[in-house]
């Protein structure tokens, strides 16, 4: 498993170096788990990405920032708004689930999304930023 995660992370890091500037990488790889964090700059925007892989699944949080302000957030950590969007009144029965969703600027609104990968985020970042 480590080889596969290692190869995936190497591909993500190479893409980050190609798409972003001032890139800083932190990564840890174990046989059954791994964590990757990437900081960088895309034009005037700061980019921060974190992804963890473990036997419990893949968790991610990707952000585009203007200064310290979040202008776009994509993550799959459950929160009350995402849970209510997905499950309505029954949301309390699903607190430990991973819920892919997107945050609007200043986290003023949430919408459910499909699963985002780091590669897709980096590949699509120009479009994502253009839509802001």
């Amino acid at each position: 498993m480590a080889g596969t995660i290692g190869e995936d992370f190497a591909r993500i890091v190479a893409l980050a170096r190609a798409r972003l500037t001032q890139v800083e990488i932190t990564e840890e790889l174990d046989p059954d788990r791994a964590i990757l964090a990437i900081r960088g700059q895309f034009g005037d925007y700061r980019v921060f990405m974190k992804e963890t892989i473990s036997p419990r699944g893949r968790r991610y949080a990707f952000y585009v920032l203007e200064g310290d302000r979040v202008v776009l957030g994509l993550d799959n950590h459950a929160d009350r708004q995402a849970l209510r969007l997905k499950y309505g009144r029954d949301f309390a029965a699903h607190l430990s689930e991973l819920i892919p969703h997107r945050h609007a600027p200043d986290k003023a609104a949430v919408e459910l999304t499909g699963e985002w990968t780091a590669e897709r985020f980096l590949t699509d970042i120009e479009t994502l930023v253009a839509e802001l």
Binding site: I35, A78, R80, F91
Partner: protein
């Protein structure tokens, strides 16, 4: 269950090891000691990270997660004060799982090497 390990060793080190007892016993003890030290080191590293997030959010992860998922006022407050809290939370959960995984490995070594020292 045992496996056989064949590795090149510096001759001077081998001479020292021979002076400490049977090579098989000394090498097995050294490997156990190394594995224990590394397990403890990884547990300590993970626990330092867990403590960092507990201080930052003044909570343990389970309480934090429950409130994030059920308490809109708390979620609004965390979004305001820590707008990238999700990145912290995924690492927080990861470090808790990591510490537990290394604890289980440590316990397995203890159980298999010194059954009387193993917890539970």
């Amino acid at each position: 269950m045992t496996a056989t390990l064949r590795i090149p060793v510096q001759e001077s080190l081998l001479e020292i090891l021979k002076g400490l007892g049977s090579l098989e016993t000394v090498t097995a003890a050294a490997l156990r000691r190394y594995a224990l030290d590394r397990c403890l080191q990884r547990i300590e590293q993970a626990e330092r990270q867990i403590a960092f997030y507990e201080r930052r959010y003044e909570s343990d992860y389970n309480t934090f997660n429950r409130r994030i998922c059920t308490d809109q006022a708390f979620l609004d407050l965390v979004n305001r004060d820590h707008p990238m809290w999700e990145a912290d939370a995924i690492e927080w959960a990861y470090r808790i799982e990591e510490a537990q995984a290394w604890r289980e490995r440590l316990e397995r070594i203890l159980r298999e090497s010194w059954p009387s020292l193993a917890p539970g």
